[in-house]
């Protein structure tokens, strides 16, 4: 190998190098500051927050505040809201991936009447965000009695034109001979799908999973509409529900603890899948 000097693209040395780093570090500190404040606020008592100046270093209420949040919360225990969000985000991410994999498989590998029409119909839905179709969707979900339920949270958001499109593009780069070799080897279509197409798409799936998990986790408007029962609240909208109406006093330490908790799962997902995620975006292994 060429030598130890070759890590990444950093070759530049000297003063300019340190200035670059200084600039980056300051940038990171500025971006990180609000999160730090939220963390500090989640470790002190309510009076300490309300009386200026606001503390900048963590207090001693960390365990109390987080226990309060997780166990009792304001309207519903945050543990329950975390669970709701987790179920919803997982349901949306996995469901979207499964459905779009299958529909992309159908569109790319099977010749059936109306194939092009179906593709364009799917593509067309890209132009309709959730917000545009939210009233009719609410009607349908309410009609099925799915308000305040996991299925109501998940199913209306589960179809994904973007993911279908992405998998279609990927499948089209897979050489036809591979499908033919599998046919000669005796693999029926679904076997080919499971044994060959799916493992080949695993980096794409991982990248998509990270994006979709965060998409699902951050859903706000839809859960706000269909979950009236606090025990079905998701954490992102639940934070908003914790804000007092009228003259009540906001329990800021608990709200801040909840915010910090809400951030953790997406961070864990991103960090644990970082390697696959980047590979999925950068190279496609053929």
């Amino acid at each position: 190998m060429a030598g130890r000097e070759q890590h990444g693209m950093v070759q530049k040395r000297g003063v300019g190098h340190w200035f670059t780093h200084l600039g980056l570090i300051i940038g990171v500190l500025i971006i990180f500051f609000p999160i730090w404040l939220a963390f500090v606020a989640s470790t002190v008592t309510q009076p300490e927050i309300v009386h200026p100046p606001m503390p900048l270093w963590p207090g001693d209420q960390f365990f109390n505040n987080y226990r309060d949040a997780l166990v009792s919360g304001v309207n519903a225990p945050v543990a329950k809201m975390l669970l709701n969000s987790f179920v919803m985000a997982m349901g949306i991410a996995l469901g979207k991936i499964l459905i779009s994999l299958l529909s992309a498989f159908a569109i790319v590998y099977f010749r059936f009447p109306g194939r092009k029409v179906f593709f364009w119909l799917i593509f067309l839905t890209l132009m309709l965000p959730v917000e545009v179709r939210i009233v009719p969707t609410y009607e349908v979900v309410a009609g099925f009695g799915m308000l305040n339920s996991y299925s109501g949270l998940i199913f209306p958001l589960i179809a994904s034109a973007t993911a279908t499109f992405l998998f279609r593009q990927f499948f089209m780069t897979v050489p036809d001979e591979l499908a033919e070799a599998a046919r000669v080897d005796g693999a029926r279509p679904m076997r080919f799908f499971w044994d060959i197409l799916l493992p080949m798409s695993r980096t794409n799936i991982a990248a998509l999973f990270v994006i979709l998990f965060i998409y699902g986790w951050n859903q706000y408007l839809w859960p706000l509409l269909i979950t009236t029962d606090p025990s079905m609240n998701t954490i992102v909208m639940g934070i908003k529900q914790m804000f007092p109406s009228g003259d009540d006093i906001a329990d800021w330490p608990v709200i801040m603890a909840t915010s910090i908790l809400a951030m953790l799962p997406p961070i864990i997902v991103v960090i644990s899948m970082q390697k696959l995620f980047i590979r999925g975006l950068v190279d496609s292994e053929k």
Partner: protein, 338 residues
């Protein structure tokens, strides 16, 4: 072990006819090479035998049974693709074992068959590698290994060597021939390379625009081309074609064909045709002398590399034995020499 029979096999894509009716009886263990320029339908023909392409009309028979409606897996064939088509995420072992796994072959037998195929192809030390960690020639071997382990009735090769460099191609060509001999499996092999066709084939099918122009043993096809196309395609450099009017004694209205290796240079005014040397290509063992005839037609003479090559612009005559002269009618078919 199997026989293959194609009867009046035709294929059209929509209104375009691609294959215009091919007939051949292939006996057990025979090595058939389908050769022709690109777009002549040779790959389509092979894919119809494989079952990857539907048959428009006519019939494919393997071991005497019609297989037109059968899926590829039920025909007991194995195919080697041009780009190898190895499963990129599977190790070499799993690539070779995949077909057997689907057929629910017992594990011990799979291992044994893969091992023995790997031994035959010198792939033993690569079994645990992924295809991308192998060289082109090794990938080619894996693709053949995948075909061998299934113990098929028929091997189908779709231009398997065209992605390899020239040297490796010669070596793999030899290996394929030896392998096919030792296994004795009936094989169909598609190529556009006439050298591959000549060296590998027991019999070859020369395809031209969806028609099997000639079917026969390589030397027979070389010595006795049935059409102008075959005479021009088989043999290198290509046969010289001249209008009959230029050659005394040729039947009127025909085209005269003379192979470069059958012609010799002579002094001006002593040849059957006259011309000027436009350039020579000295290849060492042989020299190709390109002439511009007085009628402006081009003509190539192949002579031994030891003989002195004439200079450019040099005027000379060209001679050949009348028995080496071929005649083709206006429809391109060979006319028996009187």
């Amino acid at each position: 072990m199997a026989t293959v029979k194609l009867s009046n096999l035709k294929k059209s894509f929509g209104k375009t006819d691609v294959i215009h009716g091919v007939d051949i009886d292939i006996s057990d263990g025979e090595f058939i090479v389908i050769v022709g320029p690109s777009g002549c339908g040779k790959s389509t023909l092979l894919r119809m035998v494989a079952g990857l392409e539907t048959v428009t009309s006519g019939e494919v028979q393997i071991n005497g049974a019609g297989v037109n409606e059968m899926e590829p897996m039920d025909r007991n064939i194995a195919m080697v693709f041009q780009n190898y088509a190895l499963y990129p995420h599977m190790k070499v072992f799993d690539n070779m074992a995949y077909g057997l796994k689907i057929a629910k072959t017992p594990k011990a037998e799979i291992a044994e068959r893969v091992q023995s195929a790997a031994k035959l192809l010198q792939l033993e030390e690569y079994l645990m590698r992924k295809p991308r960690e192998l060289s082109g020639g090794q990938r080619q071997r894996v693709a053949m290994g995948r075909a061998i382990v299934r113990k098929p009735d028929v091997f189908l090769f779709d231009e398997p060597l065209s992605n390899l460099d020239a040297k490796l191609r010669v070596q793999m060509r030899l290996e394929i021939k030896q392998l096919q001999r030792s296994l004795g499996v009936t094989s169909l092999y598609v190529t556009h390379d006439q050298v591959e066709a000549m060296t590998l084939a027991d019999r070859m099918i020369v395809m031209n625009g969806g028609i099997a122009d000639q079917i026969g043993a390589p030397l027979e096809v070389y010595a006795n081309p049935q059409t102008e196309f075959v005479a021009g395609f088989i043999g290198s450099p290509a046969t010289n074609f001249l209008p009959a009017a230029l050659v005394s004694g040729a039947p009127a209205g025909t085209t005269v064909g003379v192979r470069p290796e059958h012609a010799t240079l002579t002094t001006p005014d002593h040849g059957l045709v006259e011309g000027q040397v436009s350039y020579s290509e000295a290849l060492g063992s042989e020299t190709l002398v390109h002439l511009r005839l007085s009628s402006d037609a081009a003509f190539t003479v192949r002579q031994n590399g030891m003989e002195p090559a004439p200079e450019e612009g040099h005027a000379c005559g060209v001679l050949w034995n009348s028995s080496d002269q071929m005649h083709f009618g206006a429809d391109g078919r060979r006319i028996a020499t009187p």
